[in-house]
Symmetry: C2
Subunit: 386 residues, 2 copies
Amino acid sequence: MNYFSSDFKLGILGGGQLGKMLLFDTRKFDIQTYVLDPSDEAPCKIACDQFFKGDLMDFDTVYNFGKKVDVLTFEIELVNLDALVKLENEGLKVYPSPKTLKLIQNKGVQKTFYSEHNIPTADFKRFENLKSLIVDILDSKLKMPFVWKCTEFGYDGNGVKVIRQISDLDHLPNVECIAEDMVPFKNELAVIVCRNPSGEIRTYPVVEMEFHPEANQVEYVICPARIDNKVAEKARAIALHVSEKFNHVGLLAVEMFQTEDDEILINEVAPRPHNSGHYSIEASYTSQFENHLRAILDLPLGNTESKVAGIMVNLVGAEGFSGNVIYENIEKILGWNGVTPHIYGKKQTRPFRKMGHVTIVNSDIEEARRIAEDVKNTIRVISEIK
Amino acid sequence: MNYFSSDFKLGILGGGQLGKMLLFDTRKFDIQTYVLDPSDEAPCKIACDQFFKGDLMDFDTVYNFGKKVDVLTFEIELVNLDALVKLENEGLKVYPSPKTLKLIQNKGVQKTFYSEHNIPTADFKRFENLKSLIVDILDSKLKMPFVWKCTEFGYDGNGVKVIRQISDLDHLPNVECIAEDMVPFKNELAVIVCRNPSGEIRTYPVVEMEFHPEANQVEYVICPARIDNKVAEKARAIALHVSEKFNHVGLLAVEMFQTEDDEILINEVAPRPHNSGHYSIEASYTSQFENHLRAILDLPLGNTESKVAGIMVNLVGAEGFSGNVIYENIEKILGWNGVTPHIYGKKQTRPFRKMGHVTIVNSDIEEARRIAEDVKNTIRVISEIK
């Protein structure tokens, strides 16, 4: 198959920042792309070959879009699964496969999959809705504290809440959910696995994540994780095991907990380029986006190791600011060694909205960490009028 | 000035591969771009915010385009200079300045500029046309061999010819030209200098170039050049001196000869991102394109040093092939360590047409050089039908 400067068309469901960063590589290889997204202001609207506006959850919209392309992928899991299944049954290459996506879209199903395959994960219990969960608490079948997670449509910490007392359940939606044991952990880690249809498989180094206490969004991603080599090897091995069980194609981002006694527990996975891999654009020999593209086109995978240490800081909208975005002090951080801002192209900021990220690379990881902290304390995502 | 996700508009004259690679960084920073190019198939047509089709040498076309933007730059020197002068006089920021471009567009003027500023360069003589040059030969005022160069509109070796006997002049155009002494040299080197309006200035490491014997196009660009440190320092110092004399803003690619006795002679300069800096996308902390963008927007310049060694191989159309392009064996080279192809997006190949380039990065420059040679001997730019 000739992908390069040819009539081949890659379809991408979702036109957000992940798609936008993927388009850097489709442009680099001159591979034609069609993008479907509901928003006229999607970051992917330019740089793709053709943009289609439409609802990613609508069967017909997704099905008809899929009919226009030769290979179909997605940058967001919230897409119409039935349409993907039909397209795959009709012979279209859909990567990751709907079968994989089906196991991941619903966190309850995902957790059950782990226990069925002896993949270490925190104990949990599934509930059809919030009411049945409350019943279990009242019948003392469910002990607090625990972590409530809605099984679908949650992202970036939305749909996740620590429940310490009944009142913490107030205002939670009455939807399907799970109650997960709270595991005391040292570190949150992630490993991105890359696999092509021919079965070539590679893992990126283990990264270490630090979360924002309130927004529950990643604040720093540090590559390589500053952990013991044995733990790192274990984490990479478990990530490989998970990806083999899912038999996925493309990228699989595996989020994990490192417990106090250095056990590795799977938190959740994402079958796509992931926030925890953004550092790879500047730090790795091959970025996660290029490797996702190589994988779904069944091209040889690129080197996943790093040229230098990389740290990523998310740029999220500052509290108290909404409206036309301004990146305060961005000129200042541009003057620092190894600092690269990525601005996603959202014109409007909101508190905690993901607006971009900054990568800091350095041959010395401690120096990178110092600069990253300065970056975090200097740049602010605000709006013209408060 | 707020450039990021704002109404600010950067205008780019020329929509070829240099513009295309510059657009990766305008997209990364979400800076609005308008591009003017005569071709409907310009590689920049997608990924810019607005594309305008028009003649870059036409005064009105360039002037009216310039009126639409806040800062104007170019990716090719062959643009209407008078329009740029008028726009600059009317207060538009045009970088590099038309004054700089004026000194560079004509090779005769450029060479005279060097001698006037005691910048070392090969001896030369200027001629209004080929006839007057021939007269000088016949009057034995000009000795063969020498290098004939037309003063304008030459690129990639077109408009350059070694003259050993009168018959070598056959079929040369009767245009303004120079006759340049043939200098025996060890190496062709290049240094890219980056400077912003505030006067911050940085040089990239010295690169070493190898040319294709017939096509006279760069075959390998090797960073860092494998030369003595003293020579490298001298080359960087001379490049800085040249850029200060030109007082340019943006990038200035300075091509040089290293003579047998380690003298450095300036060959020519280009006031824009340059083929000799493409390696920087993968190998440098900050690519030449990002630094060009930072420079013309008067942002702080990024680190010009390298993360790893980088070698670039140009992808030019194979002899005997014209038509719809095929990149033979590209899947094979993608499997090798640190190999990144850049496909410019030209649908049609022709013998020696620049279709793309491949960057090979490695912590070991000798290993990179070996892989680069394998790449050169493996990938072929051909067409469907010979």
